[in-house]
């Protein structure tokens, strides 16, 4: 251990430290570092990364971001949160982004439980974190309740669980109308509610029990399979016996695939409508070997459906770049380009407090919607998205013979005198075996 005591060791160590900090400081002056955190081995994380890459490429191609008088390039840093399997991995990834990579901003996160932990770390370090995956209302309730602590968190995508539920009921209502018109069903439409056993879906059971009768529908049963169930043929057998005409689904996990596949293979005479996160992905068709046909799910994008003038150029550019229709976790694109970069250019600084103060008051268009951050009943900032016509509504899409087709909003009447139809939506298709069963 003589070398430890030698005269050379200390200067070498000091030199290494100086070089390290100098390199960090040099990098900091040159570029805006944005961490993209998500489950990168899974499609949700890959889409988050793809969205971010597209945003960075577009911004850098224009010369970068104008921060005051200086042009700064975007540098993305990927962090695999592995959050489906380990929350600890997710928090470590966020810590690493902030302490080692010294990112200015973070976008991403998917699983609610992990995003809560990530939110804590980012906010403690005063790093703006735009969530692009988790829907829990509580993420933004925290902002309202403890503003000084959590003001650095913004919701990017999707809109919150409460709004997701509202939208899902609208999709069920529209489907029921189609069934009544096309199959001549006169009595109350029978609905089976199938929700994975997960916390986010628990509150849905009383909501469904209370709301469906008001919508002129009858709830014939509630089934709660495991989120990771791989065989649901027993549940489907019971659902068929219940006489359900609509299966109102609430799936965020893998169970959405076997459920859709087996329901179609068994030709259950009922429409599947609701939330099926797996069905939002391009891989769904292959994963179900084409048996996901006629499944309707809430979604953000479908080819040729235009929420506003920005939608189509984005979707087409994304398809050209990555060969598939974007999913909602590509919201990293607008989070970087429209939320962060536009705000930075407006105020000419990277100061997080100034960015927060400006961003929370902005109203701006993004490819899937117009963003406005709402305040709660007490007038406190929540940094949550405004849901409703003219703002974020999402769309509903149906798998029709291998194509993911937008089917809602189509003459949606959210309020008296208001009717919303997005350009490019098509009519809902009823499975032929259901038509056969009801038109005997």
């Amino acid at each position: 251990m003589k070398w430890l005591k030698s005269n050379v060791f200390v200067p070498v160590l000091a030199f290494v430290f100086v070089m390290f900090f100098w390199a960090t400081a040099f990098a900091a002056s040159d570029e805006i570092r944005i961490g993209v955190i998500g489950p990168m081995k899974f499609i949700q994380g890959k889409s988050q990364w793809n969205g971010a890459v597209m945003a960075a490429e577009e911004i850098n191609a224009k010369g970068g971001v104008k921060v005051g008088s200086k042009m700064m390039k975007i540098k993305l840093i990927q962090a695999d949160s592995n959050e489906f399997l380990s929350i600890t991995d997710a928090t470590n990834a966020m810590e690493r982004l902030i302490t080692r990579d010294k990112v200015h901003f973070v976008v991403g996160g998917f699983r609610t439980e992990a995003v809560f932990a990530m939110q804590d770390i980012a906010c403690q370090n005063k790093v703006i974190f735009i969530g692009c995956g988790a829907a829990s209302d509580e993420l933004c309730n925290r902002v309202a309740k403890y503003y000084d602590q959590y003001k650095y968190f913004f919701r990017g995508t999707p809109f919150n669980s409460t709004a997701l539920v509202k939208a899902a009921f609208s999709h069920v209502g529209s489907t029921a109308e189609v069934l009544r018109n096309e199959l001549g069903i006169t009595g109350p439409i029978k609905v089976a509610f199938v929700a994975e056993k997960a916390q986010w879906a628990d509150a849905m059971v009383p909501a469904v029990q209370a709301t469906l009768p008001k919508m002129g529908m009858e709830l014939v049963g509630v089934w709660r399979p495991s989120p990771v169930a791989t065989d649901v043929s027993a549940e489907l057998s019971a659902i068929q016996r219940s006489g359900a005409q609509i299966i109102f689904t609430f799936f965020s996990s893998s169970v959405g695939i076997p459920f859709a596949r087996q329901a179609n293979e068994l030709k259950i005479p009922a429409m599947q409508v609701g939330i099926n996160v797996e069905a939002q992905k391009a891989e769904f068709w292959q994963a179900t070997r084409g048996q996901g046909n006629y499944v309707i799910t809430s979604s953000t994008y479908a080819r040729n459906v235009e929420c506003n003038e920005l939608t189509k150029p984005f979707v087409e550019a994304y398809i050209k770049r990555f060969g598939e229709v974007p999913t909602y976790t590509t919201g990293t694109y607008e989070s970087i380009k429209m939320s962060l970069v536009d705000t930075i250019e407006m105020i000419g600084t990277l100061d997080p407090d100034k960015i927060v103060a400006t961003l929370e008051n902005r109203v701006y268009k993004t490819p899937p919607s117009t963003i406005m951050y709402v305040k709660d009943n007490l007038g406190r900032h929540t940094h949550d998205l405004k849901f409703g016509p003219g703002y974020a509504t999402g769309i509903a899409s149906q798998w029709q013979d291998g194509e993911f087709v937008g089917v809602w909003p189509n003459k949606w009447k959210p309020a008296p005198g208001v009717e919303v139809t997005f350009k490019g939506v098509k009519p809902i298709k009823i499975p032929p075996w259901m038509i056969k069963a009801y038109k005997k």
Binding site: V205, A234, E235, A238, A287
Partner: protein
């Protein structure tokens, strides 16, 4: 009445799926005393083989199944020879090694196929209706395959010389060795047969499920529960245990739809209750006798 029919039909089907997996696990434990935690990982490997062969090479499902079974057997035997045989006498080490092998398979599958959910084609498409219950032909195939595997294994074990060697080794390894049976070779052959059956189970069962790199974990829990319930190392016990688990699951789904997610937990609870009453399992030997 309709619920009872549902439970009978679905219980038989689920039971057959578990039986297919548990019989081969029980065989390797009975003969070689190897608790192969990687057993369902081989089932996963077979499933991914079928996916690769059908999707990328354009083969149909039946030849893909043969390729998958053969590749699984080769892989299983190589792993046995290289990793397990040298540590076979140390049961704890074998347990950990097979667990590590399963994790390696999982990570390799994640590397090549990512975490995406995939499907493989049915060997037979379509369904039929029995007592008003829709049943996939693939499920019927599983039921028949479980029965067939059981019959073939029984004939093999009780009517062939190799079967006799396997049973002798299972009863007493040292005496079998003294009688001129190459115990190590018998263990390797048993490993090959067991992995082949796991691959076969993968080929038959996986079209009913979805492929993903963690797909080996849940069947492993159920399979071990079946084997423990039936009695460690008892083929008959595994067969009966599988159907008990299958019927329990079906009963939970049909009698308590809102508690459908509890089906595995309830099945495991039944196992615990049986073990409290009969610690050796339904058809197992007393531990004291075994020692």
């Amino acid at each position: 009445m309709s619920i009872i029919l549902d439970i009978i039909v679905m219980g038989l089907i689920k039971g057959s799926i578990y039986a297919l997996l548990a019989i081969s696990f029980s065989l390797i434990f009975g003969v070689a005393r190897i608790v192969n935690i990687a057993h369902t990982a081989f089932y996963m490997v077979a499933a991914y083989c079928i996916y690769t062969v059908t999707n990328y090479m354009g083969w149909s499902a039946v030849p893909a199944m043969f390729v998958a079974v053969i590749l699984s057997v080769i892989l299983g035997m190589v792993i046995y020879k290289v990793f397990l045989n040298p540590i076979r006498e140390h049961e704890g080490a074998v347990l950990i090694a097979t667990m590590a092998i399963a994790m390696v398979f999982q990570e390799v599958m994640t590397l090549f196929f990512s975490g995406s959910f995939l499907s493989v084609p049915n060997l037979i498409d379509g369904y039929f209706i029995i007592f008003g219950v829709k049943v996939f032909y693939q499920q019927l195939l599983t039921l028949c395959a479980a029965a067939l595997v059981m019959v073939i294994l029984m004939i093999f074990l009780f009517k062939t010389k190799l079967g006799l060697a396997l049973r002798s080794t299972a009863q007493d390894r040292e005496v079998a060795n003294l009688m001129g049976i190459n115990e190590s070779k018998v263990a390797m052959i048993t490993m090959g047969i067991a992995i082949g059956l796991a691959g076969f189970a993968g080929a038959i069962v996986v079209p009913l499920e979805i492929l993903e790199p963690h797909m080996w974990a849940t069947p492993l829990v159920m399979m071990m529960a079946v084997v423990v319930l039936g009695g460690l190392g008892s083929l008959k016990g595994s067969f009966v245990g599988a159907y008990i688990m299958g019927f329990t699951e079906a009963m939970v789904v049909f009698l308590s739809p809102q508690g459908a997610f509890l089906k595995i937990s309830v099945a495991l609870l039944i196992m615990i209750i049986v073990l409290l009453i009969r610690p050796e399992g339904l058809f197992g030997v007393y531990f004291e006798e075994e020692r």
